[in-house]
């Protein structure tokens, strides 16, 4: 199993850049434990509804399914962006990145809309431990997605300015990892929070 530098994927050809990618992976694992803790809180608090609504009463599944499909699609377009970068198509990489961040933004907007309508119905997180856990778990994910959108914007600018260098390739790769990771977290939110909630 001897690998020479040139047969490695491009992001790993430079040693320092490959070390940075590994650092990012490790960061994602800590984020995974962070979400694990939030899931633990949510699962334990699910039934602590007090005088507030139960999950069943609260959730409207239609918009959530839309959010899910949007995020899945953005995950796909994100992988296309990395794919374009790997076949050295700068415009493709940037274009798919922009599509991705656009989808991410619409996901965030839909989520804000969902939260806002809950709050307007009087279901603030003050109302019960369940609502606190719900808003926090889903909100933390949403916050991560928003950060990802900001990051994607900067990345698109950087790739536009500098082209595909060692550094921008590594950044795009890290961004893709982040984005897919959030997608996976969302799948679990969709399953554990929403689907289980209305089941």
């Amino acid at each position: 199993m001897s690998t020479t530098t040139s047969t490695l994927p491009p992001e790993f050809q430079d040693n320092m850049e490959s070390i940075r990618i590994m650092g990012f992976w490790i960061f994602l694992t800590t984020d995974l434990v962070l979400f694990g803790s939030l899931f633990a809180v949510y699962v334990v608090f699910r039934s602590l509804v007090g005088l507030g609504p139960t999950p069943h009463q609260l959730f409207v599944i239609g918009p959530v399914l839309t959010e899910t499909l949007i995020l899945l699609t953005s995950s796909f377009t994100c992988s296309l962006s990395l794919y374009s970068a790997r076949i050295n198509r700068v415009p493709g990489a940037i274009a798919w990145l922009i599509v991705t961040l656009g989808l991410g933004m619409s996901f965030v907007l839909l989520e804000i809309h969902e939260f806002a309508s809950d709050v307007l119905n009087g279901h603030t997180w003050h109302q019960s431990a369940f609502l606190s856990a719900f808003f926090t778990l889903v909100g933390t994910h949403g916050g991560h997605v928003s950060v990802g959108v900001g990051w994607a914007i900067m990345l698109a600018i950087q790739i536009g300015l500098k082209g595909l260098t060692l550094t921008t390739r590594r950044k795009l790769y890290a961004f893709a990892l982040y984005w897919h990771f959030l997608d996976i977290v969302w799948i679990f939110i969709f399953t554990v929070v929403y689907l289980s909630g209305i089941a």
């Binding site: 070390i19 590994m22 650092g23 800590t30 434990v33 939030l38 007090g50 997180w125 606190s132």
Partner: protein, 661 residues
């Protein structure tokens, strides 16, 4: 008079009535004077630029290590003063040296400062100072992130210490259990300080964990396989991985409490069906691994110190590494032993009681292996070795009482009593503090280039250790007499008086030991005993192959490692010339460039944290924008480097006598 009202209002916000105690005012004045004196001194000697270029913006792991060490020693003093205040209050029944509120604040800050702002930075000081040198690397994997970690820690520490004079200290204990820590029982900003200072420092800690994990896995010199790295490096590796998975639950626990307090959520409140025990659960998912985070580096230090001063290789390297792995793994599954009393049921308690006990096996393997390392060796009683020698008999007592605590029905009687206080000081001081001090004395010459006086060091050691035994042994018996922790004072007639007196006397003996140690450092700095060899202890690992202190690029030539105690092997086989370079082989070296971004980023966090503490949301948003700006700036600036040209390297090495003729 609206202006007057507003000023009064502002003043009251900044200095709530309980803060206007004469002692605090005195300390505030003292602090202000100290800051002014330092400022004037720096201006007079024109040192501002030096401070900025050499230290504040540095990304050099060696300098960051020194800054961590200084911060940790200052915090040891701060936490130690708190400890002496605690002990002074408890010296006699019905004492009113402090009021109850102030006592509560003092033990809370004592615990918080000691664990998060003394022990953790002390550990990171040693990691930073030595790990890259021990693995033959020129720096850590992410030097700028390393500086960010340090500054986040520093601003976290400033936040916690600020609480004392601006707004009020936290007073709910170092683990801040809700609902007591919720607004209902704890209005005011003290608790917010606790939550946010730990949050800010915690982010830095996670970053350090990532950094050292990657450094050790990816930056080793050629030939240095994982089975050849020194055990201290193993301990750093494993500690880092514990940090990775222990801190996120803490982040969540603190974050949710903050949401409750500042944003009106209902996680751990009594009302709205909040569930405070979930905080306790999350806190200890972090808290138990945390105590191993504190002790494993000490185990690592001892695994370096014992072989060096016994002139023998470490006994059972594989077992030593394996037991570290086993402890860290088991350490994730024991946390319920901190709340056996919550009624989770016998099966839960039995499971966690047994998993706790299991840790005695790998720890026991280590204890015996250190003894076997000394067996058949030649023991030199240097100061680092003395600390190690005190560690073995002390730690075994603390560990043994830990096993007693893990016997579930026994814990129903010990929980929250002074037996518990004695247990954990026994392991924390006997393990972590002895270990870190041992490491400090051991690596001091490597960090600073001069040695600490041995005779004074021995006295500091003797006073500190004897004070330790006198302080904490009586506390076990106080536990059996039914004395619980966190009592602001106690009535006479319960039989607690004598033992408490002993304990207080012991604490002051420890204080004296600490003072001798400070004197030791200052004296040794005044009459510097330079270490010209780079290898003052006849060491075994790679850091001793370098001059003291190491040049900024550490290794002019990256060593090709062949065996475990590589430097020892070089000395034995007469290969020491391998570290020298020649004019033909020298290359220019790229090093990361200093950056102001880390301190700016940490400062933005600081501003945001203050905004959240006082619920000044505009300020929190400002801080958030600052963070984004710093990150964006960092992203565009990329990792810039400076080149140290070959001539300069050659010159430096020649001065150190490390160029082949």
């Amino acid at each position: 008079m609206p202006i007057q009202r507003w000023t009064l209002h502002l003043l009251r916000l900044l200095f709530p009535p309980q803060v206007l105690l004469p002692d605090i005012v005195a300390i505030d004045i003292g602090l202000t004077v100290a800051v002014i004196v330092i400022g004037v001194y720096l201006t007079r000697t024109r040192r501002w630029g030096w401070l900025w270029h050499e230290w504040i913006t540095t990304v050099d792991h060696k300098k960051i290590g020194i800054m961590y060490l200084i911060a940790a020693l200052i915090m040891l003093f701060r936490g130690g003063v708190d400890a002496l205040m605690i002990r002074s209050q408890l010296i006699a029944p019905n004492a009113h040296f402090m009021g109850a509120q102030q006592y509560d604040e003092v033990f809370t800050t004592h615990g918080t400062v000691m664990i998060f702002f003394m022990a953790m930075p002390m550990v990171f000081a040693l990691f930073n100072a030595t790990v890259p040198l021990m693995i033959g690397a020129r720096d850590v994997a992410f030097p700028r992130l390393n500086a960010i970690s340090f500054w986040l820690f520093a601003f976290g520490a400033i936040l916690l210490n600020m609480s004392f004079s601006i707004g009020g200290s936290p007073s709910a204990g170092w683990m801040s259990y809700p609902p007591y820590s919720e607004l209902l029982y704890n209005p005011g900003v003290g608790e917010n300080y606790f939550l946010l200072s730990l949050q800010v420092a915690g982010i830095g800690t996670i970053a350090t964990g990532i950094n050292f994990l990657v450094t050790i896995l990816r930056m080793r010199a050629p030939g240095m396989s994982l089975s050849k790295i020194p055990v201290f490096v193993w301990s750093a590796l494993i500690t880092s991985s514990l940090v990775l998975f222990a801190f996120p639950p803490l982040t969540v626990a603190l974050g949710l409490t903050m949401l409750d307090r500042v944003f009106g959520a209902s996680f751990f409140t009594i009302a709205h069906q909040g569930m405070p025990m979930m905080y306790v659960n999350l806190f200890w998912i972090f808290g138990h691994p945390e105590v191993y985070i504190l002790v494993m580096p000490a185990f690592g230090v001892f695994s370096e110190v014992v072989p060096t001063f016994s002139r023998k290789p470490l006994f059972g390297y594989e077992a030593m590494v394996g037991s570290l792995l086993a402890i860290s793994f088991l350490g994730y599954g024991t946390w319920v032993h901190h709340f056996f009393e919550m009624g989770a049921g016998p099966s839960v308690n039995v499971f966690f009681g047994l998993s706790t006990m299991l840790i005695a096996i790998p720890t026991g393997v280590k204890m015996f292996n250190w003894i076997f390392t000394m067996w058949g060796g030649r023991i030199r009683l240097t100061v680092p070795m003395l600390w190690q020698l005190a560690f073995i008999p002390t730690f075994v007592v603390g560990g043994a009482t830990g096993i007693m605590l893990a016997a579930v029905p026994g814990d129903y009687q010990y929980h929250n009593s002074y037996f518990l206080i004695a247990h954990f000081h026994n392991v924390i001081l006997g393990g972590t503090v002895f270990g870190m001090l041992s490491g400090m004395y051991y690596w001091w010459p490597k960090m600073f280039g001069w040695k600490l006086n041995q005779r004074q060091g021995t006295w500091a050691f003797a006073l500190f250790v004897s004070g330790f035994w006198l302080t904490f042994m009586p506390q076990y018996f106080l536990g059996f007499e039914g004395m619980t922790r966190r009592m602001a004072t106690y009535p006479a007639g319960l039989g607690w008086t004598t033992l408490n007196l002993w304990s207080t006397v012991g604490a002051f003996v420890m204080g004296a030991g600490f003072l001798v140690m400070v004197y030791n450092i200052l004296w040794s700095r005044r009459y510097r005993d330079w270490d010209v060899t780079g290898d003052p202890w006849d060491g075994r690992t790679l850091e001793w192959s370098l001059p003291s202190p190491a040049p900024e690029y550490n290794f002019a030539r990256i060593p090709m490692v062949q065996s475990r105690d590589e430097w020892w092997a070089m000395k034995q086989e007469g290969r020491t010339d391998e570290v020298k370079i020649s004019a033909t082989t020298v290359h220019p070296i790229h090093m990361p460039r200093n950056s102001a971004m880390p301190i700016m980023l940490a400062f933005a966090f600081f501003v945001g944290a203050i905004g959240l503490i006082f619920a000044w949301f505009w300020m929190a948003i400002l801080g958030g924008l600052g963070v984004i700006a710093a990150l964006a700036y960092g992203s565009f600036a990329d990792y810039s480097e400076v080149e140290i040209d070959a001539k300069h390297v050659l010159q430096t090495e020649a001065q150190l006598g490390r160029v082949e003729s």
